[in-house]
C-alpha cells in the first residue's frame, strides 16, 4: 500500500506509478508491480486467453454449420430441439451474468453479505443451466441421438459439451471464490480475483448467446 518506490525510471513512468499508488490509497486497492502497459498482467493475460477462446469456439461453430443438414440418418435438429426449454436455460445464464456484475459491485463497495449472496446466485444459476443441459443431453440420448449417431450428433455434442465444460469450470471457480469471500480472504482490495472469474463467466455467456442463435434458432 501507499507510494512505493520501484526504482529509478523515466519521469513519465514514475508519474504513472504515483498515480496508481494514489488511486490505490484512495480506493483501498493494492498496487501491482510496474508493467510496460501500467496494467495488471493477470487481467491482460486473461483477455488474451479469452481472445484465443473465441477462435476455439469459432472453429467448433463453423464445423457445426459446415456439417449442418448433411446427416443421412436421424434424429435431426427439428426432431429433438425444445426451444422453450432452451430459452429458459438461456435466460438463466443471462441472469447469472447480471449476478456477476452485482456481486463484483457489492464486493468493491465492501458490502460483504450482498457480495456473498450474489456470488451464490451465480453458482446456483450456473448449476441450474448445467441441470438443463444434463436433462437435454439425457433426452437426446433417449430419442437415439448420441455422439456417434450422425454428423449432427457429433458436432452438436462436441460444441455444447465443450461449452458445458466451461460452465462447470466456472461454477467450481466461483464456489472457491465464495468460500474465500466467506472466510474473509476475498476482500475489496483483491477483488480482481472475482473480476477475472466474472470475465470468464461473461465469456461463456456470450458464447451461449451465439450458440443459442446459430444452432437452436437457425435450425
Amino acid at each position: 500500500m501507499g507510494v512505493g518506490v520501484w526504482g529509478v525510471r523515466s519521469g513519465q513512468t514514475i508519474h504513472k506509478e504515483l498515480i496508481l499508488a494514489t488511486a490505490a490509497v484512495e480506493h483501498h486497492h493494492p498496487v501491482h508491480p510496474p508493467t510496460a502497459t501500467g496494467l495488471n498482467t493477470w487481467k491482460v493475460g486473461f483477455w488474451v486467453f479469452m481472445g484465443s477462446e473465441t477462435l476455439f469456439f469459432g472453429s467448433l461453430i463453423s464445423i457445426y454449420l459446415v456439417y449442418k443438414g448433411t446427416s443421412v440418418v436421424g434424429p435431426y435438429p427439428s426432431d429433438v430441439f425444445d426451444i422453450p426449454l432452451t430459452t429458459v436455460s438461456t435466460f438463466v445464464l443471462l441472469m447469472s451474468s447480471l449476478a456477476v456484475v452485482l456481486a463484483l459491485d457489492f464486493l468493491r463497495a465492501g458490502r460483504r453479505n450482498l457480495a456473498l449472496f450474489w456470488t451464490m446466485m451465480i453458482i446456483v444459476l450456473g448449476a441450474t443451466f448445467l441441470g438443463f443441459q444434463a436433462y437435454e443431453f439425457t433426452h437426446f440420448y433417449h430419442v437415439g441421438l448420441t455422439l456417434s449417431t450422425n454428423l449432427f450428433g457429433s458436432t452438436f455434442f462436441v460444441l455444447t459439451g465443450f461449452h458445458g465444460a466451461h460452465v462447470t469450470i466456472g461454477v467450481i471457480w466461483l464456489l472457491i471464490l465464495w468460500v474465500d469471500m466467506f472466510r474473509g480472504k476475498l476482500r475489496p482490495e483483491n477483488s480482481l480475483r472475482l473480476e477475472i472469474a466474472g470475465l470468464y463467466w461473461h465469456f461463456v455467456d456470450i458464447v451461449w448467446i451465439a450458440i443459442f442463435t446459430l444452432i437452436y434458432l437457425m435450425e
Binding site: S62, V66, I83, L98, L102, L217
Partner: protein, 114 residues
C-alpha cells in the same frame, strides 16, 4: 489520450467512469437482455417473419453480445488494450466461420468444387 486514462487503477479502469455503472444500470441491461431473448424466440414462431428470420436473429444476437461485452465485461470503461486483444481474434473467428460456410455450403451449390 493520457488524460482520459489518468486515473487508471491496477485493474486498468478508471474509477470516475466506473461509478457511472451502478447496480440499477446493470439491472436495466439485464432486463433488456431478457427482452431481446424473448423477442428472438417470438419471431422464431412467427411464420410471416420467416424470410427475415436469419438477419433479424443475427442482429438481435449481436445486440445482446455487445451489451454483455461493453457493459458487463466493462470493455466500454476499461483500458482500450483489453478491447484490442479481444476484438481482433473475435473478428478473425467470425471470418473463419463465414469463410468455412462460403467454402463448404454456398460455393458447392453453384457447382464450385463439384
Amino acid at each position: 489520450m493520457a488524460e482520459s486514462h489518468a486515473i487508471l487503477d491496477e485493474h486498468g479502469h478508471s474509477h470516475d467512469e466506473e461509478h457511472h455503472v451502478g447496480w440499477k444500470k446493470y439491472a436495466v441491461i439485464g432486463l433488456v437482455l431478457a427482452i431481446i431473448t424473448g423477442v428472438e424466440v417470438a419471431i422464431f414462431y412467427v411464420d410471416a417473419l420467416a424470410p427475415v428470420l436469419v438477419p433479424a436473429l443475427l442482429v438481435l444476437s449481436a445486440a445482446k453480445f455487445f451489451l454483455v461485452v461493453q457493459y458487463y465485461m466493462h470493455l466500454k470503461m476499461d483500458h482500450p488494450i483489453f478491447g484490442r486483444v479481444f476484438w481482433a481474434p473475435l473478428f478473425l473467428a467470425v471470418l473463419v466461420v463465414i469463410g468455412m460456410v462460403i467454402l463448404f455450403k454456398i460455393l458447392p451449390t453453384y457447382g464450385v468444387f463439384s
